[in-house]
C-alpha cells in the first residue's frame, strides 16, 4: 500500500472462503478503515481466484469507504473475475458495466437498507433457493429461507447496520452453492460482550451460534437462525463461517475458532451448501401435524 493522492490495496492471490482470506481482508480493512476523502484502488493484479459470494464482503467494505467520502476503484482485474462480478451485478452497483448471466449461476449482489424489513425474504426465495438443487420439501425450504432471514433481521436490529450486503454463487462443477450476508455495524463480540465480558471474540461468536441465546432487550427472546443453519450444515456436509470484529468461527461438523490479528467492524456470515447430498430434507412440522392453513380450522392451545 502506498499513499500520495491515492492508496493502493493489494488483493490476495485467492479470495476464497478460507480463514487465510478473511485474515488478509481483515488486516487490510484495519489499515484502511480510518481513511477519509481518499482515492483507494483495489489492485487485483495478483488475484487469480475470487469466490463470487464474497462480493458481499467486499461490497460492504466498499460502501463503508464510500460513506467516508472516499473514491473506490478496481484495477488489474482478470477478465474471468471481472465477468463474474459483472454477472452478479457487483460492478454495476459500483457504476461499472454488467454482463448477462448466461448460465444462471449467480445469486445477484444486492444492497439492502436497514429500514427494508421484507425485501430480503423475496430475494432469498427468488435468487438463492432455486440454486440449491437438493431434495427439500416445501416446508423445509420455507424454514431454511426463514433461518436466513433471521440472520438478516439480526444484522438490521442487532448490528444496527445502515446497509446489509448479500451475494452468492453456484459452482456447478464443484456442486456447491456459496452465499454470504455481510453488515458493517455493531459486531457480535461487542453485543455479546455487554452480557458476557469474559468471552474472547471467538468465544462470543460461538455463544451466539447456540440455540436460544440472545443479546436482545429485556422481554425479547432469542432467534434460531444460526442454530438452524448449523444443524443443516452438519447433516449436509457444507460449511458455515462467521467473521465479526476480531473473531473467526468456522463449522463443517467440527468447530474451528480463532481470534484474528485484523479487525472487521461488522459481521460476515458465509454459507457453503453441498449439492452432492442425496438426503431428503423435511421439517418436523410436516410429519404428523395436520396443516390447518388449507382448511382454515381454528388452532388452540399453542402456548
Amino acid at each position: 500500500m502506498c499513499s500520495r493522492d491515492f492508496i493502493i490495496v493489494d488483493m490476495p492471490e485467492k479470495v476464497a472462503n478460507s480463514s487465510s482470506t478473511f485474515e488478509h481482508l481483515l488486516a487490510t480493512f484495519k489499515e484502511i478503515s480510518y481513511l477519509e476523502q481518499k482515492s483507494i484502488i483495489f489492485d487485483f493484479k495478483n488475484t487469480n481466484w475470487f469466490d463470487a459470494n464474497l462480493s458481499a464482503f467486499l461490497g460492504a467494505i466498499f460502501r463503508y469507504l464510500l460513506s467516508k467520502k472516499n473514491k473506490v476503484f478496481i484495477d488489474n482485474m482478470s477478465e474471468s473475475i471481472s465477468t463474474i462480478l459483472k454477472k452478479n451485478n457487483f460492478l454495476k452497483t459500483f457504476s461499472l458495466e454488467d454482463a448477462p448471466d448466461v448460465y444462471n449461476t449467480t445469486v445477484e449482489f444486492r444492497v439492502f437498507k436497514q429500514e427494508n424489513r421484507t425485501e430480503f425474504q423475496s430475494y432469498i426465495d427468488e435468487n438463492l433457493i432455486p440454486k440449491i438443487s437438493i431434495s427439500m420439501s416445501e416446508g423445509f425450504k420455507s424454514i431454511f429461507s426463514s433461518a436466513l432471514d433471521e440472520i438478516y433481521q439480526n444484522a438490521r436490529t442487532h448490528g444496527e447496520s445502515a446497509d446489509i450486503t448479500a451475494c452468492g454463487q453456484w459452482f456447478p462443477t464443484r456442486s456447491i452453492v456459496k452465499f454470504t450476508i455481510c453488515d458493517i455495524g455493531v459486531t457480535i463480540p461487542e453485543n455479546v460482550g455487554r452480557l458476557h465480558p469474559q468471552y474472547s471474540p471467538k468465544e462470543a461468536i460461538n455463544w451466539a451460534t447456540q440455540y436460544g441465546t440472545s443479546t436482545k432487550p429485556e422481554g425479547i427472546s432469542g432467534g434460531v437462525g444460526l442454530d438452524y443453519l448449523k444443524k443443516f450444515i452438519r447433516v449436509n456436509g457444507g460449511k458455515l463461517h462467521i467473521i465479526s470484529g476480531q473473531g473467526y468461527w468456522g463449522y463443517d461438523g467440527n468447530i474451528t475458532m480463532k481470534d484474528l490479528a485484523g479487525y472487521f467492524n461488522g459481521t460476515v456470515v458465509n454459507l457453503e451448501i453441498n449439492l452432492n447430498d442425496c438426503k431428503m430434507y423435511a421439517c418436523e412440522s410436516e410429519m404428523g401435524i395436520i396443516d390447518n392453513s388449507a382448511s382454515g380450522d381454528m388452532m388452540i392451545n399453542i402456548f
Binding site: 424489513r117 425474504q121 416446508g139 432471514d149 433481521q153 427472546s221 432469542g222 396443516d291 381454528m298
Partner: protein, 117 residues
Amino acid sequence: MNSVIIVKEIINTEYAVAPEDGELVYKKLNELLEKETQPIIIDFEGVTRTTTAFFNSSLAIFLKDFSSEELNSHFKFKNLSSTSLYMLKRSIDMAKLKFREGGSSSEIIKEELKDES
C-alpha cells in the same frame, strides 16, 4: 362475538419476518386484551413467511406477563401454516426458557452441545 385480527392487514405485507412488525401485532393484541372477555382470533391468512424474530416480539413476549394457560384461553389461531406453527413453537419454547427459568438458556444449550458431540 370474538375479536379477529388479520395479521397481514396490520403489518401490510405477506412476510411476517421483521421484529418491528411483530411489535405492531403485539400492540394491537395488548389493546384488545384489555377490553375483550372472549378469546381473540389471530388470523394468518395471506402470510407466506414467518420468523422467530417476528413471533418473539408479537406473541412469545406475552409469556413475560401471562401463563401458558392464560394465553391459551386468550388467543386462538387461524390459517397458521405448518411451518409458521413450527416457528411459533420454537419462539414460545425459547421464551419459556427465558422467562420461566431465570433468564437462562443454559439447559437447552447443554442439550444442544450434547447432540453435537
